[in-house]
Symmetry: C2
Subunit: 209 residues, 2 copies
DNA sequence: GACAGTATGTGACAAATGTAATAAGGTTAC
DNA sequence: GTAACCTTATTACATTTGTCACATACTGTC
């Protein structure tokens, strides 16, 4: 595996290089110190995996990831970080990063590189723990648990897609008044106030009291 | 690593057992054919990793995961599947499953088991590709890119929390009319129609045309 | 058959929401 | 200093939304 390592701390890049090259299947083909380096190095070497810190001066690992992934969707980027910030995690995942590990997990890095190299993605323990909270949806069957009938679930789903009552009525071949009635019932059952809260609930599971 | 394998196809459990035990660090301590078996086996053996199919008669791998994780948060479950259904993926992640691979990735299973055993989570190529779409997001800084001013971003965030205009006005010490104006402006800039669409956009990134 | 539940509809009404026009004080940039 | 923009506000109006009360019809179950 051909790897590029980017971190603004020379000690870290050095240590990583040494640790990783102890594995005979790993070759570190380049190292850099910030996001710009990452982009340049990626373009010239096209490594199997780009191993990069998130926090860096100049250009962060996140921005670099975004840029690289925008011209090469297939890029395999594994981010390393010391901090656990939801926003970073979400952004990284949105951009299409293939892995996200805490620096403290260094013993697992080689392991993770192999998985990423094969196209899988790998997330460190703490990131894994956060994942459930970052997800969308509230899928149909979850709504059942709140006592919503079939039609009510359908209506709820459409509200959460941003449809107006009229559109929902058209979509489901109902009168607009009926749709309003359904929504009224849904809000009652869930203890919500209006369609926007319903959409938010549907997408995040958030409930008020 | 002590592994339990559950799949309703005996050929599959057999094959997996053979393939995995070729790795000297793997011991298959039990096999089962459906979700109920999974729960029982998990309780008696407490394996390092539970490798399980999703589609099974009687009790699905998903339900079994839910049950096991409800009494043991630390359970390391790696799901295998033939089908890619968003709903399954989301649910599995919500429950706290540590891995999700396609059966076709069998060559990587041992690899993945090791990662999962160390607390990391692993997702197959296709699942990885879906991840970005399943996330919540739209963080403040993304909105800037659409030309929203500071206050507008603040308002948008509150709309996406399900607040009414009056509440937002109270929260931000503005008049209700002003809030309405801001929202009007935001909708215009984003090409949206109403606050519900704004909430949906804020949470999922979905835009209409 | 009576009853409960779901599915569907109506009409009327109050409140919330979105738009438009307009205005004035502030900041920043050229 | 003037143009551009942000912040804040008001008023008036049209539309959408949510609630209520009530009605019909179809499904089951007891």
């Amino acid at each position: 595996m051909r790897i590029v390592i980017v971190d603004d701390d020379f000690f870290v890049t050095g240590a990583l290089k040494t640790i990783l090259e102890a594995n005979e299947d790993v070759t570190v083909v380049g190292t850099g110190a910030d996001g710009k380096d990452a982009v340049t190095l990626y373009q010239s070497y096209r490594p199997d995996v780009l191993l990069m810190d998130i926090r860096m001066k100049e250009m962060s690992g996140l921005e670099a990831s975004k840029e690289i992934l925008s011209f090469d969707q297939e890029a395999r980027i594994l981010l390393l970080t010391t901090f656990l910030d939801d926003e970073y995690i979400v952004k990284a995942l949105k951009y299409g990063v293939k892995g996200y590990l805490l620096k403290q997990d260094y013993a697992c890095i080689a392991q993770a590189l192999r998985a990423v190299c094969m196209g899988q993605s790998v997330f460190g323990t703490e990131i894994t723990a956060k994942l459930p909270g970052l997800l969308n949806t509230k899928s149909a069957s979850d709504l059942k648990e709140y006592g919503l009938s079939g039609k009510e679930q359908e209506v709820a789903a459409l509200v959460a897609e941003g449809f107006s009552n009229k559109e929902i009525a058209g979509e489901m071949f109902l009168s607009e008044g009926t749709v309003r009635n359904y929504i009224s019932g849904i809000l009652e059952k869930l203890g919500l106030r209006d369609r926007t809260q319903l959409a938010v609930f549907y997408l995040t599971g958030k409930l008020w009291e």
